[in-house]
Homo-oligomer: 163 residues x 2
């Protein structure tokens, strides 16, 4: 990233905490929370399915699901099948689904740099044409951005001027 | 996300761990690691600057920087100013810079859902035209993807068939 008009902003003159990178990392921490969100994206809704697919203990899973409901990333909805008692399932909220670009960006990065010879364990494709899906950067005027140096970072309206 | 041809893949028939969502979350954990990467993107290179801007203790910062160098997200490069002893600075590697789409996606999400009345603390704009930068989803054929249901998730080449 670069600086407005080539002139660096004085980082030490601004308090930018908590910034949005850290807020999102906190929302998805500990990484077992990210594991649940991954399964939710891949279609899991029921406690027993989350349990089997994440390998967590029931106590830890309950705590993480409670936290995700409190954060409004998942919503707990009752359902009842004939002849069984009422149970709950966990569905992604709009806020939770809006993490898809973040998850796809994370998947692309790890696929490029971390999976190596083991190869990616998931494939994401466009339902319309079957081509692989990736997260790309664009500006509000529709320009695609290919390098970090094309991005100008500066303090936003929520930053506090220190001096 | 949806399923190939409308037919759900049998999630329980596949081991998809470690998947790329979790690999990236692990690379950026604990969140102090994410804090260092954020500062690196915003231009910080020197130990003392990281120390002041992240508020970490020297011991914790050293450990996190060592970890980021071991992960090859940062590279330690010696530099010397006239009349001072040689020091080291930490620069983003290509692998580290390639996390920009992930960071921008995280920033966009938290800006939309978490910062609220406090407002975002950072602003990211296109150096060419000044419009705000965001992470969007696209497929390899150039179609923009606007909803999670347009993405088909299925086991990738690294997944292990269990049954």
């Amino acid at each position: 990233m670069t600086h407005e008009g080539g002139e660096p902003w004085d980082r030490d003159a601004w308090d930018i905490d908590p910034d949005s990178v850290v807020l999102t990392l906190q929302a998805l921490a500990p990484h077992s929370t990210g594991l649940i969100m991954r399964e939710a994206f891949y279609g899991t809704r029921r406690f027993d399915d989350f349990l089997r697919r994440t390998g967590m203990s029931p106590g830890v899973l309950s705590a993480r699901l409670r936290d995700l409901v409190a954060q409004e990333l998942l919503v707990k909805v009752p359902y009842k099948e004939p002849g069984t008692r009422e149970r709950a399932e966990y569905r992604l909220t709009e806020k939770g689904r809006d993490l898809v670009p973040t998850m796809v960006a994370m998947i692309g990065w790890a696929d490029r740099w971390l999976t190596g010879e083991r190869k990616p364990t998931m494939s994401l494709r466009h339902s319309g044409c079957g081509a692989p899906v990736e997260a790309v950067l664009k500006c509000g005027h529709g320009h695609e951005i290919h390098a970090a140096r094309e991005i100008v970072a500066s303090p936003g309206p929520g930053a506090t001027r220190l001096s």
